[in-house]
Symmetry: C2
Subunit: 333 residues, 2 copies
DNA sequence: CGTTTTCCAGAAAACGTTTTCTTTATCATA
DNA sequence: TATGATAAAGAAAACGTTTTCTGGAAAACG
């Protein structure tokens, strides 16, 4: 079944050269004469030879496998757009780079201790990790990263070292900006800020941005933790909307929850979100939000991991964000 | 970096046995005495030995890798819930089975001819394929499957052979049932049926189901191709809604498009969808639909592929579906 | 008690590459 | 022409497993 019937050995025989010469051609070594190169390539084409990546990995000790570790339920419970974007972005870039992506969910490693995780990733022959949305209380995964056993790129979490890079948008600034723009249209002084997860890095950064704006504009901000849950945001909105708070949420999903609550209460008031997921369009109302390009972020993470694997030191990468206003009609068309 | 420092060789030395004996213990061979087994396991624990899957794959010629081939944009352009569910279901089951899933998008192989595809999957050391939503005009991929070079499981497409299984719900029956239930509440005789893709297997089956119901109930069905596009469904609805057609769509996404059109036209009329994606809740109205458990379907596909890989012949598997009615509130809670 | 099985364990050859080291041929230099 | 440097190609040892084959001891049998 799909066995590699023809090996480097056959190519060598066909071309009348040594195995090592074929290997050198395959890997674009410099010291091969043009003539030999052509003979070998002809033989490869002739026989339909496909290099066996397994054997290559065993011999060279380079597997080219990276694990994309993500939490399907972290950002939204229902629609998994963000992880899907990460997957698409990472896989496409990985293919371009000749790497393989093994997708791993937090749930699959949730019960493991550090030793087990190391063992798990080792047994998978994984050379590097891309970890999405690590939060402060993921101590095991954090220890894994700090063990320096693997090269790692953290999306949306800090932690730069010799073997670790971090990649994220400027959450503080983005929250500051979007809220400022959102509030520009009205004269609310009282804000209900529905924040994300306790112990979430991005949540905390966004909150800092919000607070900075509040100080600057003399706003009175009521902070409640929405835990990135639509339902939670809906409940909180129910509780506070009558009292004329402007509502700013640390994610689009929560913004949708808030909007639903407002609709139920027959209040028309715009809401401010964060992330710019396409889902937004289904809410049916206008909304200010921050758009991050998750696909691009994941692609950059793959490139960064390649860099680390080449021995370069880790670094902190800040990706751009965009402020947008989504309308019902913008999205449908 | 995360190299497997300790090999089977070290374990053998530590346990005072031969390498082959350790291998036998690792693979649960029968002919190993209890005493030896324990010695070896002790040594493994002592040294923290992790078997090298690469070497194992090379030697045994079993890589345990399967490709999950899917089209991110096939079912919906905006929210990729269905592919995400496939991915989650397949990966979790694969882990349970000790297999690896390599996710491949249609776009990554779109330009290839059959030979290139074979080469591509071979070079990835892939033993089997799970192909989601193959349509009639994907001739290259179809030929790849028919080349019998790989074991394959087709989700939502026919094609059973010695090496190929098919897995799907009974689309015809499901469409028949959901439409019947949907229509039970009213006395519409004129139907606008917004079908899926031309050349899509499931689309055609659903249409057959719809037509069967129409014959049975003496309905007048106007069929238009919505191409699984929200926007297309919206346009079609605009065009026909005034004329009192009941609207039945071959997917939820299209049903949402239809509903949006109705809302714009200030018409209140329920709509019938298909798939039961969680996105539905955001539409804000009541809707009849068919729920398929995509995650479970993918998990079954993995199991089926394992069966095929053990040499069992292909088969046709019909998964159950459920008729549901989604309300705004059902989904949010 | 001799012969045949059965059961375990070890030796060694694969698996298909990469890579280091050696050899040979060519060329420039003195 | 002898000498050293350089370029290209080959030989062979790894990489860490699996698996087949062989050997020896113990058990079963007549």
């Amino acid at each position: 079944m799909a066995s590699n019937l023809v090996s480097i050995r056959d190519v060598a025989r066909e071309a009348g050269v040594a195995i090592s010469t074929v290997s050198k051609v395959l890997n674009h070594y410099p010291n091969v004469s043009e003539e030999t190169r052509q003979k070998v390539n002809a033989a490869i084409a002739q026989l339909g030879f496909v290099p066996n990546t397994i054997a290559s990995a065993l011999s060279s000790k380079k597997t080219g496998r990276m694990a994309l570790v993500l939490d399907v339920n972290r950002h939204s419970q229902k629609v998994d757009e963000i992880p899907m974007r990460y997957i698409i972005g990472a896989i496409n870039k990985a293919k371009e780079k000749g790497m393989d992506i093994i997708t791993v969910f937090f749930t699959m490693i949730a019960e493991m201790d550090v030793e087990e995780m190391i063992r798990y990733f080792q047994s998978q022959s994984i050379e590097g990790l891309i970890i999405c949305g690590l939060s402060k209380d993921d101590t095991v995964l954090r220890k894994l990263v700090e063990s320096q056993k693997f090269k790692a790129v953290l999306i949306d979490a800090p932690g730069v070292s010799e073997n670790t890079s971090s990649i994220h948008i400027d959450n503080e600034k983005a929250q500051y900006e979007v809220a400022k723009r959102f509030l520009a249209g009205n004269s609310h002084k009282k804000i209900l800020y529905i924040s994300g997860k306790k112990n979430g890095y991005v949540s905390e950064e966004r909150l800092i941005g919000m607070n900075r704006l509040a100080d600057e504009m003399g706003l009175q901000v009521l902070v409640r933790t929405g835990n990135f849950s639509e339902l939670e945001a809906r409940k909180l909105t129910m509780q506070y909307a009558r009292s004329k708070h402007a509502i700013i949420c640390a994610s689009d999903l929560m913004a949708i929850g808030a909007m639903k609550a407002l609709i139920d209460m027959d209040i028309y008031r715009p809401v401010c979100g964060f992330d710019g997921v396409s889902l937004m369009g289904y809410a049916g109302k206008q909304m200010h939000t921050v758009r991050q390009d998750f696909q691009k972020i994941a692609a950059c993470a793959v490139e960064e991991l390649c860099r680390l694997m080449e021995g370069e030191p880790g670094q902190d990468i800040v990706m751009p964000h965009k402020l947008i206003r989504i309308n019902y009609l913008d999205v449908i068309s």
